[in-house]
């Protein structure tokens, strides 16, 4: 069974759940079985927020990601909490603007993306999450213009259609860095 298990984690307010929803929709428009499960509860206030996203060729069993193939850590508590859970051979993407330490694991591929700085430099300060999402798709060989466009249209409501281009641009910055 071919499945990709992803864990997206950071502070509440960084767009963690949105990023997960985008990735789930990307899978859906490409014909995959998908699930999205947020952490919910007191930890969402100021602590870590996370969501589990699974893309699979088969119906998704448990929606809980305990051994991610891909971990996105957008703050230090998330990296501390989930680094050891990543599957050997997996991928860790960190926002290196906010996380100063290096990843300790040597059996995973690590991408250090200064996403928060890139977002700020490019006058899109709220889109560090989508810069990371671009990098994630690139790193998993799944960045296609059609897929990204279709998924963005699903997660961004028609009322906010003016945000489509800047989200796409953020993802391109992530993919190219």
């Amino acid at each position: 069974m071919s499945a990709t298990q992803m864990l997206i984690a950071g502070f509440g307010g960084q767009g963690i759940l949105f990023t997960g929803k985008f990735l789930a929709y990307k899978g859906l428009v490409e014909g995959k079985e998908v699930s999205w499960l947020p952490s919910y509860g007191p930890e969402m206030r100021g602590g870590t927020a996370s969501c589990s996203v699974i893309l699979s060729d088969e119906p998704v069993g448990s929606p809980i990601v305990s051994t991610p193939d891909v971990l996105v850590a957008m703050n230090l508590p998330s990296l501390d909490k989930y680094e050891d859970s990543v599957a050997p051979g997996g991928i860790i993407i960190v926002d290196s603007t906010l996380i100063e330490r290096e990843v300790k694991r040597d059996d995973v591929t690590v991408y250090y993306v200064p996403a928060t700085k890139l977002a700020s430099d490019n006058e899109m300060p709220t889109l560090a999450n989508m810069i990371i999402a671009g990098k994630l798709l690139k790193a998993t060989d799944s960045f296609t213009d059609e897929g990204v466009d279709a998924a963005l249209k699903k997660v961004i409501s028609a009322k906010r259609a003016d945000m489509l281009d800047v989200n796409k641009k953020a993802m391109q910055i992530g993919a190219d860095c």
Partner: protein, 354 residues
């Protein structure tokens, strides 16, 4: 595929209820089901329906009683402690033979408990839920699609049998998003000649009531109700069997536990262990038939639950204790991992229960 949208389980329930013709929702917020109320608050005013946040769960269930008396489709939703508060109303609905849909997105207990997922209201849901002899039809969805499907089905069954149907979900099912398709053909509303809609001076008064002070009349109403329950037990059981054809070990679970179990079963099959799953979809009526069949060919049944072992009692009854029935569980908001279930399966394969 293209017309599927991603929805949270809670949102899927709310939208499915509206599609099923529900125009009256009464509730009181509680994690992890508040999205149902939030969705209703947004949608109901736009379609001429009623969304009302009651002053308490007790008030909400009694508003359900009132609307149901008029023959309209009506629902309320809550999570474990809130369902306990609704208990009195559930019993009154049963005593008055009123249809209603009640959603319980369970969280850990007892008491105020926690806010993470649980299945520890199984006894409460399937054995009545309050005082008096009565049943509720209990539907246990295992995907966001089924959250919607069981909502529509629940309204139909409630109307058909004049009783409460409960969708028994858990925090995971309520919070997770999956693709869902909401294409339903909704039949014509069930005739409700008993409803209190005004006589227009053309018929005798209809009275909706659960008070019977004459014992033999109360006994008769109980007997009649249980005749209906018997018919439901014979005709409305729903379950899924997964890889049970050649199974030597049977896992049984509902809701989120069934999904975790499927992961473990797939892993065990790759190791050559012949294991399958019985997933009850109706928890009452409990589907006895697949367990009877399994009890004659498997060497152990493993009940995977997010409780201290509640469904396991019905599994033992259904399998007539012909084979050992063991429990694999987590509680308090914890969820068994596929690895934990796989270990239980391997243990059974290696000689099994002591």
């Amino acid at each position: 595929m293209a017309d599927k949208v991603l929805m949270k389980g809670n949102e899927a329930i709310a939208e499915a209820a509206i599609i099923a013709g529900c125009r009256h929702y009464f509730g009181y917020p509680i994690t992890p089901q508040t999205e149902i109320a939030a969705y209703m608050a947004k949608r109901m005013p736009k379609i001429g329906g009623t969304f009302l946040q009651a002053e308490s769960e007790i008030a909400a269930i009694n508003m359900v009683y009132g609307v149901s008396s008029t023959g309209k489709r009506v629902m309320t939703s809550s999570s474990s402690p809130g369902i306990s508060l609704k208990g009195e109303g559930l019993s009154y609905l049963a005593g008055a033979d009123l249809p209603a849909l009640v959603i319980n997105v369970q969280r850990g207990g007892p008491g105020l408990g926690g806010i993470q997922p649980s299945q520890s209201d199984y006894f409460q849901a399937t054995k009545g839920g309050a005082h008096g002899d009565f049943r509720m039809i209990v539907l246990a969805p295992s995907s966001v699609q089924e959250m919607a499907d069981m909502t529509v089905k629940g309204f139909d069954l409630a109307d058909k049998y004049r009783m409460t149907a409960m969708v028994l979900a858990d925090g995971t099912m309520g919070q997770m998003m999956e693709p869902v398709s909401l294409d339903y053909e909704i039949g014509a509303p069930v005739e409700k000649p008993w409803a209190t809609t005004g006589t227009k001076m053309e018929r005798p008064h209809n009275i909706v009531n659960s008070l019977f002070l004459v014992p033999d009349e109360l006994e008769k109403s109980n007997f009649e109700r249980f005749e209906r329950y018997k018919y439901i037990e014979e005709n409305e059981c729903m379950y899924e069997e997964y890889m049970m054809d050649d199974a030597e070990i049977c896992v049984t679970a509902f809701g989120i536990a069934a999904r975790v179990s499927k992961n473990a079963i797939n892993a065990a099959r790759e190791m050559g262990i012949k294991v399958g799953l019985i997933r009850p979809i109706t928890l009452w009526p409990f589907p006895v038939a697949p367990y009877r069949k399994a009890a004659d060919k498997v060497k152990e049944i493993i009940s995977v639950e997010l409780s201290m072992g509640q469904m396991i009692e019905d599994v033992k009854l259904a399998s007539e204790c012909k084979v050992p029935v063991t429990l694999c569980n987590r509680v308090g908001g914890m969820i068994p991992s596929p690895e934990q279930v796989l270990d239980a399966i391997k243990n059974a394969a290696n000689g099994g229960a002591k």
